[in-house]
Symmetry: C2
Subunit: 399 residues, 2 copies
Amino acid sequence: MPTLSSKGLQMPASPIRKLVPYAETAKKAGKYVFHLNIGQPDIASPQVAIDAVKNMDRTVIEYSHSAGFESYRNGLSDYYKKFNLPINPEDIMITTGGSEALTFAFMTCFNPGDEVIIPEPFYANYNGFATSAGIKIVPVTADIQTGFALPDVADFEKLITEKTKGIVICNPANPTGYLYTKEELEKLREIVQRHDLYLFADEVYREFCYDGATPFSVMSLQGIEENVVLIDSVSKRYSMCGARIGALISKNKKLMETALKFAQARLSPPTLAQIASEAALQTPDNYFTDVVDEYVERRNIMVDGLNAIDGVFCPKPKGAFYCIAEFPVDDAERFCQWLLEEFEFEGNTVMMAPASGFYATKGLGKKQARIAYVLEKSALKKAVRCLEEALKVYPGRDQ
Amino acid sequence: MPTLSSKGLQMPASPIRKLVPYAETAKKAGKYVFHLNIGQPDIASPQVAIDAVKNMDRTVIEYSHSAGFESYRNGLSDYYKKFNLPINPEDIMITTGGSEALTFAFMTCFNPGDEVIIPEPFYANYNGFATSAGIKIVPVTADIQTGFALPDVADFEKLITEKTKGIVICNPANPTGYLYTKEELEKLREIVQRHDLYLFADEVYREFCYDGATPFSVMSLQGIEENVVLIDSVSKRYSMCGARIGALISKNKKLMETALKFAQARLSPPTLAQIASEAALQTPDNYFTDVVDEYVERRNIMVDGLNAIDGVFCPKPKGAFYCIAEFPVDDAERFCQWLLEEFEFEGNTVMMAPASGFYATKGLGKKQARIAYVLEKSALKKAVRCLEEALKVYPGRDQ
């Protein structure tokens, strides 16, 4: 048998899937498992998007333009203008999810061996895209005590070498829920400008900002227009994760031309999902106010509930639908596995994603787990209750 | 502005798009252009596939499993069994088009710098996937005089070095329409076995075999089960190019496990298109007999028509819906451009893809063009007539 590639062998497994076999065993044993490990919202997709697909009058499911429907790019440009973002249709390329947008961006901008700095903990699939492109992620550590705010400029500067070609952020962030302020983004601008780096921002949780906070986009940063790449997606915004429609956005024309060559090689983004996504632009505003209201309540139940448990600390995030909590345990991965294997309370248990998989620095996040509060409120209350009871009896509890 | 990657800069532009600006100018000038340059069939997608999407009862467009719906993989396995191919559900990973399947296969099996041998002329997007993976395509030249039959084993052997890790074929072939025989595939098996290479076969035109010919799949080759990777897609089979649903198939378990890590990083293939593709498995047999009958007539009009023109030679292919013709001209690219810029007959002209873009060896295919006979018969007749008249007056005609 021929050998596999070293990329293939190095390709990291996903931290949110690591415990899936234990969850399956728990279910077979008759336990009900609250899935807080994965960001698949239970919210209905906008009716206008579903209806567009159900009412389509196409007889041939044809290729679209490699950069996506022109009408959809026009509509997206209008969508961004509502956020005062100066994004024109020609700055937009429709991609197969935010995943493909980031893959194309890495392939377009980086050579094998190049380094990108990413605040950790970060979305674990960035590891996969980096491995595919042959680049190295250099983590700059954010602190749970600050709620995972942007690390100091000096911490970034220390890591910059000749190989450093870019910085990647997620804002609002998966897995921390942290929302960067305008001031933090302006600090990033300084670094990017000083070293002529790319700044990639994954802003797929734009609509999920709480407590009156508003998102500040990298596309609003002045003076680094040629350096900035925005990654977007309909997955979370419209609860359409399965559509696989995203966007790669930049004012840098040369970059967009080059990215288009990668897009042409794969022909086109999915047509049916573009029909749904273009229609989703007509989603009424109250869809988002309802969703945000719901998530604020869910967040409060989860985060306030966790903080009320003796020994647990969970910063209260202003965005996305994740939080990272620190538990009074020997090892969060062991704790998460034990919850599935050994524990139940009133027939229920909880599945969380151990946070160590979201850190690139070995040994960090050992007592932390990521929680996606994507279930309905009654389920979240039961999940918190489970965790409270579990910590009373977990054998590896900190003394 | 930061530099772009060398991969990005090397990324080849598509040969089928090169003349698009000239086609646009021709249309603005009021000419009707017969598009024979691109393989977008005009055939209707199966009604059962369209209806499945229109009648779906989902309220959330969720992620699927990263390897695709389990029910779809089960159904696909049954589909292959009708062709006597021993493919089980666990041998199948659903991908975002055949493009993603081949990208994942390259990433999984090859290291940067590795070489793959591909009979030329070949599907030009293989260049893009190879550039993304950092591998080198080594062409082995097929001859138009043999109808682009498999080159001799000795021709392959001459090209094999320590860096050679695989062979890629397309069968039935885009861009030649050539259908490899069982004997040709057994020759490939010998080479693959002798040097322990991967054999990737792009068999997306399986249903498009003419004159009673039947396709012989690499999955039927005995003794190299661990080396073989089948690339498939619904794009052409069901005229659903825009669905973006394909499959990566192999009996090599280690390979499939590794490919799944790439699939997990991009989360899932498109959900709506999987609904359509799974339903398309129920397409009645007469859909294919009707489509094949139609393409045989189209092929005959095109190929017989071309061969009836003085100085034109076009082998008659047994598969897919392409042919490559040699024209009595100085330069086929110049001829194709001239057709759009300078020529019209009864208000019409023809757009073809110059074949040089399908060869990796510089200078080959200079008098050849690829034709996709994907238009209705009356249009093809007019297109042939156009070419006949054009060759009477083209200033660069061979003496």
